[in-house]
């Protein structure tokens, strides 16, 4: 669409039509102190050469994780992305397309989403997966809202070991009156099924838990699922998709809805985003599922064809009755996840997960052997774990950053004090890990 400015005469005509004498009158309700007075205080114009130099200088103040040795996780992970993923993403027919609204003309995009959905089902063990959501946090909240619709209840119980930003997102929705959140104060690095049981009642729509949880520990999903079932509530499990390469799928433990942050599957760490919300559920609940769905059928000639299905739940068909205000999805990130899983294959994913887990255990043992770190608990974990540092954790983190390492993520422990959450992906070499341990021990 071209930008077509209006003429002065047209502007006068429009103003006269709505009955005002000037543009300023239209903003009369805006408090004066919020309105820009005069011109912006901008520096003098720059030539193109100078401008490029200036902006590049600003950009160079960022230190991308790709130039560091990263042990950071806590939601975003430095996994290897096979080069084929980017080749597929950058095909213009995928790269420039928005989520399909004219399904019949977007067969390639639809097939990409369908394959992605199928692979998310494989990973989670669930019957149906949607075409993705914004990120893990929004998928998590939508799972809570969906549980409320299904059970016709409005209270959810959330384990305190879930990512604190996800809980914050949930509470943001709760503040609008859509649902009530009951949180469990967890200590010890794991959810306590009996403590959760004391919070559930016949008003509970869902019990929500993450495994591996925020500090990397693997939860007793069977016990927590039993708590949800006993109350007639749904069981919502958030998981890490890489870990699903080696963990039993949440469906095994009776999960009704499985969500996750899909960034580890082929999306780079990019200033904290964009993420990819994985969302899967049982087929019996498909009509209450948020987001869009792509199905496969056959056309009049018997050829395979891909279609948007159950769109009557969606915002663009019936806005006021839609199952979610998120009618869009992260189609390009979903495509990346699909391409990633195709590239690495089922056995490849197992290999990646095993490598991550083995390296994480190696790093943890090595850090403990320095005597500078201590383990707050001895629970089973995947490729992420939390340790206490003997000194000031933030100072250690800053010093290691200066030496080229992202020394985990410093978080506040529920018991007080700081913990450092380390993640070790398959990208980290033994040499990098050994060098990091040596450096951090020398502080």
């Amino acid at each position: 669409m071209r930008y077509i400015p209006i003429t002065c005469a047209q502007r006068e005509h429009m103003l006269a039509t709505v009955g005002v004498t000037g543009i300023g009158e239209l903003f009369a309700d805006v408090p004066a102190q919020a309105v820009l007075q005069g011109l912006l205080d901008l520096p003098e114009p720059l030539s193109e050469v100078d401008l490029v130099r200036h902006v590049r200088g600003l950009a160079n103040q960022n230190v991308p994780a790709t130039e560091l040795v990263s042990f950071a996780g806590a939601g975003m992970y430095d996994h290897h992305i096979p080069s084929v993923v980017d080749h597929i993403l950058r095909r213009p027919e995928f790269f420039t397309a928005y989520t399909p609204y004219q399904p019949e003309v977007s067969q390639g995009t639809l097939q990409g989403i369908y394959e992605y959905q199928s692979m998310v089902c494989e990973l989670t063990g669930m019957d149906v997966a949607n075409a993705s959501m914004y990120d893990g946090a929004t998928a998590f909240v939508e799972a809570a809202l969906m549980a409320c619709r299904i059970t016709r209840r409005s209270r959810v119980v959330v384990s305190g070991t879930v990512h604190p930003e996800w809980i914050e997102t949930l509470e943001t929705y709760a503040a609008s009156g859509l649902l009530e959140v009951v949180g469990d104060e967890c200590t010890g690095g794991l959810s306590d099924a009996s403590s959760l049981a004391s919070l559930v009642d016949d008003r509970t729509a869902a019990v929500l838990v993450a495994s591996p949880n925020f500090v990397g520990n693997i939860e007793d999903l069977a016990a927590i699922g039993a708590v949800a079932r006993a109350a007639g509530a749904l069981f919502v499990v958030a998981s890490n998709p890489i870990m699903l390469g080696v963990l039993e799928p949440p469906s095994t433990f009776g999960a009704d809805i499985v969500v996750g942050e899909g960034q580890p599957l082929g999306s780079p760490m990019s200033l904290g985003g964009p993420g990819l919300g994985l969302f899967a559920c049982r087929e019996s609940h498909v009509r209450q599922m948020p987001g869009r769905l792509v199905g496969r059928t056959v056309d009049i000639d018997g050829n395979h064809a891909f279609v948007l299905t159950l769109s009557t739940r969606e915002q663009h068909i019936r806005r006021e009755k839609a199952t979610s205000n998120i009618c869009s999805n992260h189609a390009l990130n979903a495509l990346a996840a699909g391409a990633y899983l195709c590239a690495v294959g089922a056995e490849g994913l197992v290999g990646i997960a095993r490598s991550c887990v083995a390296k994480a255990h190696y790093l943890r043992d090595a850090l403990l052997s320095t005597g500078r770190f201590s383990a707050p608990w001895g629970t089973p974990f995947g490729y992420e774990f939390a340790l206490a540092y003997e000194g000031d954790a933030s100072e250690m983190h800053d010093e290691m950053l200066a030496r080229g390492y992202l020394a985990g993520v410093v978080v506040e422990a529920p018991e007080g004090g700081d913990l450092v959450v380390f993640a070790v992906t398959e990208k980290r070499t033994r040499g990098e890990i050994d060098a990091f341990v040596k450096e951090v021990a020398s502080l």
């Binding site: 016709r152 009509r287 009557t312 019936r318 009755k321």
Partner: protein, 127 residues
């Protein structure tokens, strides 16, 4: 006549059969025919209150989704849960096994305001 005369009909194409103070409600043969293949029926729960003229659920066909409007007010005493697994029953037997809810009537005189089968046929014929 496609619409049995043992019941009365609303302009929103619901039918009502009254036995004692219990009214059974479903959608008419005409309505299911217009909708086409029914794939999902969303119904309220027993114990919910219905108000005449307000929506109490949705019926989804392969073509569209329509609201269900309560023809009379009252309290729901029973819901046809079988429609959850086999919504196509609404097509096969709209006036029989495809019934949707049973209501304990709040005001029996509301039924008098609904159409006879003959009037409903005429109403439908007028489009």
């Amino acid at each position: 006549m496609t619409h049995p005369n043992d019941r009365v009909y609303s302009e929103a194409h619901e039918w009502v059969v009254v036995e004692g103070d219990i009214a059974t409600v479903g959608i008419s043969h005409f309505a299911q025919d217009q909708l086409g293949e029914v794939v999902y029926v969303d119904l309220p729960s027993a114990g919910d209150a219905l108000v005449a003229g307000e929506t109490f659920g949705e019926i989804e066909s392969v073509k569209s989704v329509s609201e269900l409007y309560a023809p009379v007010s009252g309290e729901i005493v029973e819901v046809n849960d079988a429609l959850g697994d086999s919504p196509e029953t609404v097509n096969a037997s709209p006036h029989g096994d495809g019934w949707m809810v049973k209501i304990r009537l709040g005001d029996a005189t509301q039924v008098d305001g609904l159409m006879s089968a003959e009037d409903y046929d005429e109403f439908v014929a007028q489009g």
